[in-house]
């Protein structure tokens, strides 16, 4: 119910934004499109806290605010997936429908929507699964009515200590996810297709009302995305209505008098360490999977194994890690490596998704030329793919680090009491009464936002550099 409503709201808000940013050329379009992506890369716990900051610490928790937060996070899924398809849709289909007597709305509903159905179904399935397996949002903003299977697994594991029951719930959740993704894939396959046009942006409509609508939708999208983040930033520098830096100063000393919560600064150091480890492991495993994908016939099986965690919820992964590596014969709990290992598993599918297309785009003939000049297979491969691999592994490692920084679900199962990550520390602080805990949680969340956005910006820059390198003309002369 919660996931279905979240999906409907994400579609209702996301589709008009997709229609505007993917089809029209206007000042600020690229900024709007980038801004809409921000909620998706923000840690869920941060988004939850941002929503609490926007509506105030005493705002009623429950279904409505959980649905809004899920729609906020998943806006980018709808805008990116549907927008990509919409930008290639031929508007003349609607013109034809209108010459046949259909009104503007009717032409859109009877012609354009069926043609966009596959992308709408794909994005809806993804949003549904994300909302269905949500944990951070539900824990911070939910109440008894919004309990998900994911939160139930956590409760069964950490409160009731009923591992068999938790495992059964995790399997049930996995089956339901597979069913939803299967339905989404079937709808996508059965949906009508048109020959896609090259993605082009058109000028703003000439009719004043239509032009105003486009601008209003873009402006509303920016306001919707910025409002919770600004509210969070404000909460970190406000006390009793006055501006202050007291919460930021308290980050190193909030644990004074209590050993239960731990120092926020220490949590930050833990998160950064885990992010570096997870980024390194994920980029190595992901690179190997991507290389095997493009070089060997059996590589598809390797790649499939690498992307399996994408369909497994964070809680299921955390529980699985706990059951596999949290007890003899292989007990890694004392090493503190369970969290970064889980994070790297969560990130590996994304790393493969970044590295494999980049390797495919490299000119394979370079490898043949190198081999013809006497290079051994490994050397020839390194000559052809090495330069791209170096850049793309760094970018993918950064992406994995960003995922690790914000990951909450698996860490909530695996993090040791005295060694929390920042998202876990935020949830713990929110569980304590008092303005100081809330202010410190907001400050930590702001740090996490800045760190995440910085990593994403660096990755984006690296990606652009890579694209520029690939587009640079090949020297035609022979030395």
């Amino acid at each position: 119910m919660q996931a279905a409503l979240s999906t409907l709201l994400a579609l209702a808000v996301g589709l008009p934004i997709a229609a505007v940013v993917s089809r029209y050329r206007f000042r600020g379009r690229a900024f709007t499109q980038a801004l809409v992506t921000v909620p998706f890369v923000l840690p869920t716990v941060v988004v939850a806290l941002a929503f609490r900051s926007m509506f105030g610490p005493d705002a009623p928790q429950g279904l409505a605010i959980v649905i809004c937060a899920h729609a906020y996070i998943n806006l980018a899924v709808v805008v990116r997936i549907v927008g990509a398809r919409w930008s290639q849709h031929d508007d003349r289909y609607e013109t034809v429908a209108r010459t046949l007597g259909a009104s503007r709305v009717r032409a859109f509903l009877t012609v354009s929507v069926p043609m966009l159905r596959s992308s709408i179904a794909s994005s809806a399935a993804v949003v549904f699964v994300f909302s269905f397996t949500s944990l951070g949002i539900v824990l911070v903003l939910g109440d008894q009515t919004t309990r998900t299977l994911e939160s139930q697994i956590l409760r069964q594991t950490s409160v009731l200590l009923d591992f068999p029951c938790a495992a059964a719930t995790a399997v049930l959740q996995l089956v339901l996810i597979c069913v939803v993704l299967g339905i989404g894939a079937t709808m996508t396959r059965r949906a009508p297709t048109e020959r896609p046009l090259p993605a082009t942006l058109r000028p703003l409509p000439r009719r004043p009302l239509a032009r105003l609508t486009v601008i209003a939708v873009a402006a509303t999208a920016c306001a919707l995305v910025l409002a919770p983040v600004l509210a969070l930033a404000l909460a970190s520098v406000t006390s009793n209505g006055a501006l202050t830096l007291v919460w930021w100063r308290s980050l190193g000393s909030i644990d004074a008098g209590t050993t239960r919560v731990g120092s926020p600064i220490a949590a930050l150091a833990t998160s950064l360490t885990f992010a570096v480890i997870a980024g390194t492991i994920a980029s190595l495993i992901g690179a190997m999977a991507a290389i095997s994908l493009i070089t060997h016939r059996v590589g598809r099986i390797t790649a499939l194994a690498a992307i399996i965690p994408l369909g497994v919820s964070a809680a299921t992964l955390g529980l699985g890690m706990l059951l596999a590596f949290g007890r003899p014969p292989l007990d890694l709990r004392a090493t503190g490596m369970l969290v970064p290992l889980a994070h790297s598993l969560v990130a590996v599918p994304l790393v493969v998704a970044v590295i494999a297309p980049a390797l495919r785009s490299a000119d394979r003939r370079t490898q043949i030329v190198a081999a013809s000049l006497g290079a051994r297979p490994t050397r020839a491969f390194a000559t052809a793919y090495g330069p791209i691999l170096r850049v793309v592994m760094l970018a993918a490692g950064g992406l994995a680090a960003a995922v690790s920084l914000g990951e909450f679900g698996a860490a909530s199962f695996l993090a040791r009491a005295g060694d929390p990550t920042v998202p876990i520390q935020i949830v713990r602080l929110l569980g304590r009464p008092g303005a100081q805990s809330y202010g410190a949680a907001a400050s930590l969340a702001v740090i996490l936002v800045i760190l995440t956005l910085a990593v994403v910006l660096v990755i984006d820059r690296a990606g652009r550099g890579l694209r520029t390198d690939q587009q640079s003309p090949t020297p035609s002369g022979i030395a």
Binding site: R92, L100, S103, P192
Partner: protein, 226 residues
């Protein structure tokens, strides 16, 4: 200014001082008159405004100045779906979520014709364009020529007063194109449509149109085909 030779019947499609374009007019003010069952060919190099002219007649692009009249009624400010026009593009643009018969019936349904009746009339049209038996066929399974005939049948189904054709045969091979040019012009005359036919091929224009306009940036010239 261009005056088309008027036939005995009053014009079904008329323009008065029509200026087309987005900021400045692509051509001088255009006065057209196309009577029932006749075909006006529009020739001109790329960028001269041929497609913009059709878009303006259809109501997709508002004119910079001037009026468009259909059967004597000023439709300049009328929405596309209330103008009574048919439009066939270079690509058939068949609705891929509908089969052949439902593509043709689409316009009839929008005009309030009951589903069964719309399908019956669509089947007649399909027979008329020589494609009887393909009613349930997916549009993906049609050849280029078949798809363009279905597009034409779909455009003709609501019995529009004016038909706009934007290089509808240019994607087809030469043999099929010349056959369709002859067939389609006969169909349009038979249906009594006032047709505006855009092409870049002078020979095709000669074969199909009763009169031709050559669009230039500074002037437009018109002539009647032999």
């Amino acid at each position: 200014m261009t005056d088309m030779p008027l036939a005995a019947d009053p014009p079904r499609l008329q323009t008065q001082g029509l200026l087309i374009g987005y900021t400045t007019s692509l051509i001088p003010a255009l006065d057209l008159a196309v009577s029932k069952g006749s075909i006006l060919g529009i020739l001109g190099a790329s960028g001269r405004g041929k497609s913009t002219l059709l878009g303006t007649l259809a109501g997709v692009t508002p004119p910079l100045a001037g009026r468009v009249l259909i059967d004597g009624r000023d439709v300049t400010g009328t929405a596309i779906h209330e103008r009574g026009i048919g439009f066939v593009f270079q690509e058939p643009l068949l609705f891929t979520h509908l089969n052949v018969i439902d593509n043709i019936a689409y316009g009839l349904r929008r005009h309030g014709v009951a589903k069964a009746q719309a399908r019956e009339r669509s089947a007649e049209l399909l027979h008329w364009v020589g494609l009887a038996g393909l009613e349930r066929r997916s549009v993906h399974e049609l050849s280029g020529g078949q798809a363009q005939r279905v597009a034409l049948a779909r455009a003709l189904a609501p019995e529009p007063a004016v038909m706009l054709l934007d290089e509808p045969f240019s994607a087809l091979d030469t043999e099929l194109r010349s056959r369709l040019v002859a067939e389609v012009s006969a169909m349009l005359r038979n249906r009594g449509c006032a047709t505006v036919y855009v092409t870049h091929d002078p020979i095709e224009a000669e074969a199909m149109a009763d009169s031709i306009i050559q669009l230039e940036s500074t002037t437009t010239t018109s002539r009647t085909t032999p």
